[in-house]
């Protein structure tokens, strides 16, 4: 068990990277606290697997160091780092039984057979695969194979961190939910650090205490699910998390006032910085229909169950609002109001207003 520190980490798959676009990971500085349940969230190709493989030692970073409790492990191979990793597609040893598959990481480390039997039984019970222990692993269905892969990651009790790289891709939706809550439950029991990689916000938000959001090889925000929702540090986070995502609207800045479609908009706090491209960010949850405010024309109304999403045009810009109760007609002229404490300015994508005190 250890705290994991990534310091000034950069990685490029090219031998001679020139610009920042050649880097799969650009400048990562991050601490993973011992015992945390983390999710690493970001779209495909943003560098999540690369980051994971660097922590596990499958990849050596082009630049930067990795510390486990202040011990530099950058040059150590995976088997000397005491980590476990589960991959996107199931990896099982075809010729072995399920039992031998689960015991494999322990046998390779010379754990004595009595202890192995104990651990295998424990993990098998947890994953509900006890009745399969003596059949050949190659005969299993894909989701059971993945369960066994996960079991091999969880069977060791001395690991610094267990990492899951989109482990539920091949699993049926109803089992997905079950396995995820199993993992969460397991984390609370064993208190090992876990990093769960996914591009699915629901998965990330339900599993993790802390979510690390990545985009294009960079970390854009680290926070609890509530923090990511309430105060996105970057328009990407606002847009990526939430359904529908945050409204990101073009804004003009003049004489200390911020305007959208020519009308001044009240923000959560004072504006910081200057120059660059400015945008207003406000979640649909904090946009409401009002008697006065921004004039808009209803473009589309979609009822999604508990509430409806109203898409209205303000000038040439679409703004989404979540509305409960009475719904406007399509084409109706309405007024929109933004809740000031949830309306923020973003400069070149990054949050640029002070928090309300």
């Amino acid at each position: 068990m250890a705290k994991i520190t990534l310091s000034n980490l950069r990685h490029s798959y090219l031998p001679n990277p020139s610009g920042p676009e050649d880097y799969a990971l650009k400048e990562i500085d991050l601490d993973w606290q011992d015992g945390g349940a983390y999710a690493l969230l970001g779209p495909s190709g943003c560098g999540k697997s690369t980051l994971l493989n660097i922590i596990s030692g499958l990849l050596t970073p082009s630049e930067g160091r990795i510390l486990f409790d202040d011990r530099d492990v950058t040059d150590l191979p995976p088997d000397q780092r005491n980590i476990a990793q589960v991959f996107q597609f199931p990896v099982i040893y075809d010729t072995m039984t399920v039992r031998d598959n689960l015991a494999f990481p322990l046998r390779n480390r010379g754990v004595h057979e009595g202890r192995i039997a104990e651990r295998v039984a424990e993990i098998a019970q947890m994953l509900e695969v006890e009745e399969m222990l003596d059949i050949r692993a190659s005969h299993l269905s894909p989701d059971n194979k993945q369960k066994i892969s996960m079991g091999r990651g969880l069977v060791r009790d001395d690991v610094n961190v267990v990492m899951f790289d989109e482990p539920l891709t091949v699993i049926d939706p109803h089992l997905k939910w079950k396995l995820r809550s199993k993992l969460k439950e397991l984390h609370q029991r064993v208190r090992a650090t876990m990093i769960y990689v996914t591009h699915d916000q629901t998965e990330a938000l339900t599993f993790a205490d802390q979510v690390v959001v990545m985009q294009d090889g960079e970390i854009v925000q680290i926070g609890t699910p509530v923090e990511l929702f309430e105060r996105p540090q970057h328009t990407f986070v606002g847009h990526f998390i939430g359904s529908p995502g945050m409204n990101v609207l073009p804004a003009e800045e003049s004489d200390g006032a911020v305007r959208f479609q020519g009308r001044q908009v009240a923000l959560e706090g004072a504006v910081t910085g200057q120059g660059g491209t400015t945008q207003i960010g406000v979640r649909p949850e904090f946009v409401s229909l009002a008697d006065a405010g921004l004039p808009a024309r209803v473009h589309k109304v979609s009822d999604v169950g508990r509430h409806a999403v109203v898409e209205a045009m303000v000038g040439d810009t679409a703004v989404k609002a979540i509305v409960e109760g009475e719904l406007p007609e399509q084409g109706a002229e309405i007024h929109l109001a933004f809740r000031p404490d949830h309306t923020r300015l973003y400069r070149d994508g990054w949050l640029s207003t002070e928090a309300r005190t």
Binding site: L58, F89, Y93, D94, T95, M96, N108, S149, G153
Partner: protein
């Protein structure tokens, strides 16, 4: 309701005719010869299973069969492991892959009789490069035309040179189909290189290796041209393999009856051993 349509048979008919002419008819002709005796002039006498009994009891046949099994056994235990080792050490990606593949394929592209002639000239004492080098430079007495042991070493080395590539290419195809994640997981699980081979690479190569062993068995068990051109079955009878002996009986002595009986026995043995191999190799998957 299911409609029955018998038209499909017409489409199979051409293939059936083809198989009849290139397999059934020749085999039945051989069966016909194997139970009769002839003294020429197209006069035949019924002989029953006498030829089969005579062949199976003859020392000559048993010796040739023994040499044949020895030959096949030796080339298999050399070519299969060697092929796997070469495949394992070939690059998995990069510019050297096509170079390696072409180099590997080259020996297989050379016709059998040319291979025999090449190795004959190569190994002849005084004339051949290898023969000269062994005798006159290293001072090791090596003459495959006189010494049975040298003749055996030569035909084995020749076959290994000619056919190991087949095992290499098939094993390589099996190896490159293994996803990276398997190797990564093995590293995480702390598996040694031997365990990676034993539990990942070998199981993934099993299907192609079954094919490789079967092909090499059948090919080497029926081998004729190369050893015939190289040693002619000599010195003495030391490298007279089954097929060489068969041709001697059939065309040298013109004993059509015994030769036909021998062909059928030969065929049956090849079939039986292939079937045994296949059943043993695929037994685990069936359960």
């Amino acid at each position: 309701m299911k409609t029955e349509n018998q038209k499909a048979w017409f489409f199979v008919l051409p293939v059936l005719l083809l198989v009849a002419f290139n397999a059934l008819v020749p085999i039945m002709t051989v069966v016909n010869y194997s139970v009769q005796e002839t003294f020429g002039n197209n006069v035949f006498f019924w002989q029953g299973l006498d030829w089969f009994e005579q062949i199976l009891r003859s020392d000559r046949f048993q010796a040739a069969l023994g040499r044949q099994f020895l030959f096949t056994f030796l080339i298999l235990i050399i070519e299969i492991p060697l092929g796997i080792i070469i495949a394992l050490s070939m690059p998995k990606k990069g510019m050297w892959v096509p170079v390696c593949l072409v180099l590997m394929a080259l020996p297989m592209l050379i016709p059998w009789n040319v291979v025999g002639a090449m190795w004959n000239i190569f190994t002849l004492p005084k004339i051949g490069l290898l023969g000269y080098f062994m005798n006159d430079v290293l001072g090791i007495a090596y003459d495959m035309t006189q010494n049975p042991f040298a003749a055996w070493v030569t035909i084995i080395v020749m076959d290994v040179w000619h056919w190991t590539s087949l095992v290499v290419l098939l094993s390589y195809a099996g190896l490159v189909s293994i996803p990276d994640a398997y190797y990564q997981a093995a590293k995480i699980d702390g598996a040694s290189p031997w365990k990676v081979f034993r539990y990942i690479q070998l199981p993934k190569m099993k299907t192609v290796l079954t094919i490789a062993i079967l092909l090499r068995f059948m090919d080497s068990f029926n081998i004729y041209t190369e050893p015939f051109v190289l040693t002619g079955g000599g010195p003495g009878n030391s490298t007279t393999l089954l097929s060489i002996d068969l041709v001697k009986i059939a065309l040298g002595q013109f004993d059509l009856g015994p030769a036909a009986a021998m062909s059928l026995i030969y065929f049956a043995i090849t079939l039986l051993v292939s079937w045994l191999f296949y059943t043993l190799m695929t037994k685990d998957d069936a359960q």
